[in-house]
Amino acid sequence: MESNQPTNADLVTATLAGNREAFGQLYDRYVRIVRAVVAGVSGDWPGADDMVQETFLRGYRNLTTLRGADRFGAWVVGIARQVGRERRRTLRRDRHEFRDPQPWLIESPADGEMSVDDRDQLELVLRSMSQLEERERIAIHAFYLEQQDGRRAADLLGLSRSGFYALVQRAVARLAASVLPRERKERTVEQ
């Protein structure tokens, strides 16, 4: 049975014809993987919102340079990598005190206040993630942003499903090795 969903090529063509909502649909399809890539490459999760916007804006402006409209996904992921690299360089500049480093920010969930402990725990996870290898960070972000749909995340990143899962598992194991001993230590101190 044929899908009623427009293809990427349909949406790119419609965008070039002036249909901005078509570009919105491309955004819906790829925003999660773009977020995973910019955050993973830059190591800057709090700055991901801006980087996602920048990625899609660049994509929109340069849409006519896309060869093969059906390749929009891989193409926009390439832009995301570039935006992430630029952000990483900016962060390195920050450490020279040209600009102050951006703190890790965890926003409170809308449905209730987050406790200080919860906030600290999430910040510890994010800080520890920044120490993983770039591809490990991307894999974790992609896996959880795609709501733990490993097959889709693997496809978007151009990896085999087994390879992607192996990468996610290794990344989570390393993250656990960094985070859990600290938490145990803190619990011991509190007791």
């Binding site: 360089r89 965890i106 800080r127 920044s130 120490q131 942003l145 960094s178 859990l180």
Partner: protein, 496 residues
């Protein structure tokens, strides 16, 4: 069945269902079940962090569509501009440094773009400038960058000043000073000087970085001529090709630093219409066709908490000037501490010997002194005295000959202790964990410092194995807070 490894437990959490035997073990083993619970809590937290992004999806989507509704429909971009962007974005920190200062690189990158991309009516003038620049044998310039954070609790102004001299084929001298001031500045405030460094390189010699603020210096590898050429303004010009950067306005002519200069406002076609790269002011000497000054401003005032503005100006550009060779001699300043880290196997072996003897005398641990950025407790003289005391104590149950041998061994490790002391003086770029790590910790780092080449670190483990670690491996072994606050080595390692 033995207990599960961490990797097996993670697999059960991340990809449940495939491992029946492992799951059965979990049911029967309290310890593994507890570990699995911890991992599950961690993955729940990861899911929570990422679910936040989903909540803002609709708003972010609307913002994006609103933005694109205000800009022109997608337009064909010239290949030349794309090429420009790629060239500039791929410059590494090392290349920036080699070009003569990190901040300056951006300015010269802009200059390159300007030279690169001439509109038809300016083509001949730009070609003349390119030709002149290709034949440059030396230059100097000054750079001023003022970066203000104008909102939030941490409002401040940072002012950077560089002076750079370069001479063919590969000599460089650059000074960088950075002063920080709160905003608004208190009456009479002159600011806090946070950086005052000087780098000197010349072909055929190891370079030197001098930190005047801390009164320290360290020797660096020679600046590789090939790399230097690849990133110098002269080399950039060799990579020129046609472009289409838009000249926004003609500023006419005026006297500048005693010369008649012609000015242009140039747009580089940056995607962000507010980018300072779309309004660069370039002034070119009408007689020599070489640039005298260029400046641009950037700002982001959209964020109530984190708004900033920055002005960068490269000025007093002088070309083909007489520069004394002595300017580029990497002389060690008198009265400054030499914190050059060890770079040869013999030195590392001497350090290991000293640490090993200490461990033997102390019953398995190493000098328990603190070491953190800004201050080190490792002082070779004091530690040797402590070793003499430990040796004397150990010798009480030995004969006189054995006691003399121990004393002599402690005397012999002085060189190793001094090498450690010298390396750790550079406390921002080194690590030492004698408080926590013992000889039994064969997978923990006892000490590390930057390797002489490449991006990695020379390390000594708790069991005194020594090796060169790539950066990614080093990241895994140091505490996360150390890795996160890794002191940048751009000032110290041109080979990075």
């Amino acid at each position: 069945m033995t207990c599960l490894t961490n990797e097996q437990i993670v697999k059960l959490v991340v990809q449940p269902g495939d491992e029946v035997a492992l799951a059965a073990h979990i049911d029967a083993c309290d310890a593994c079940r507890s570990k699995m619970q911890e991992v599950r809590q961690l993955t729940d937290r990861l899911a929570a962090i990422h679910s936040e992004a989903e909540r803002t999806h609709a708003v972010a989507r609307a913002q994006l569509l609103a933005k694109i509704s205000t800009i022109d429909a997608p337009a064909k971009k010239t290949a030349a501009v794309t090429w420009f962007s790629q060239q500039i974005s791929r410059l590494t920190i090392r290349q920036r440094l080699a070009a003569g200062g990190i901040g300056l690189t951006g300015a010269f990158g802009i200059l390159l773009l300007i030279i690169f991309a001439s509109s038809a009516e300016r083509l001949s003038a730009m070609e003349r400038m390119a030709k002149q620049l290709r034949e440059v044998t030396s230059f100097s310039y000054e750079l001023e960058e003022i970066s203000d954070r104008i909102t939030g609790d941490n409002r401040r102004s940072i002012k950077r000043n560089d002076v750079v001299y370069w001479s063919a084929p590969a000599s460089l001298r650059a000074t960088t000073k950075i002063v920080k001031l709160p905003l608004p500045p208190p009456p009479g405030a002159v600011g806090e000087e946070t950086v005052d460094v000087e780098e000197i390189y010349t072909k055929g010699h190891r370079g030197i970085l001098i930190d005047h603020k801390r009164r320290q210096f360290f020797r660096t590898p020679e600046m590789p001529p090939d790399d230097f050429d690849d990133s110098s303004p002269v080399n950039w010009l060799q990579r020129m090709s046609k472009g289409s950067v838009k000249i926004v306005a003609d500023l006419g002519t005026k006297q500048l630093y005693g010369n008649l200069a012609h000015g242009y406002v140039v747009s580089l076609g940056h995607p962000d219409p507010k980018s300072g790269q779309n309004a660069i002011h370039l002034w070119v000497d009408t007689e020599t066709d070489l640039p005298i000054e260029y400046r641009y401003e950037e700002s982001d005032t959209s964020d109530e908490v984190d708004s900033w503005k920055s002005v960068m100006r490269a000025y007093n550009c002088r070309w083909n000037i007489e520069l004394d060779d002595e300017l580029f001699l990497p002389m060690e300043p008198a009265g400054y501490d030499d914190t050059t880290w060890p770079r040869d196997e013999k030195s590392v072996a001497a350090m290991v010997d000293a640490l090993r003897l200490y461990a033997v005398l102390s019953g398995g641990h190493y000098p328990r002194v603190s070491h953190k950025p800004g201050v080190t407790g490792f002082h070779g003289d004091e530690i040797q005295q402590e070793m003499f005391r430990l040796a004397a104590s150990a010798a009480q149950s030995q004969n006189e000959k054995k006691a003399a041998e121990l004393h002599q061994q402690v005397e012999q490790v002085k060189a190793g202790l001094d090498l450690i002391t010298r390396a750790l003086k550079n406390s921002y770029h080194t690590g030492y964990y004698g408080m926590e790590v013992t000889h039994n910790d064969n997978e923990k780092l006892l000490m590390w410092w930057p390797a002489d080449v490449g991006d990695g670190y020379q390390v000594i483990y708790g069991d005194l194995r020594a090796e060169n670690l790539p950066l990614a491996e080093w990241f895994k072994l140091v505490p996360p807070d150390v890795a996160a606050s890794r002191t940048p080595l751009e000032y110290s390692k041109p080979n990075e």
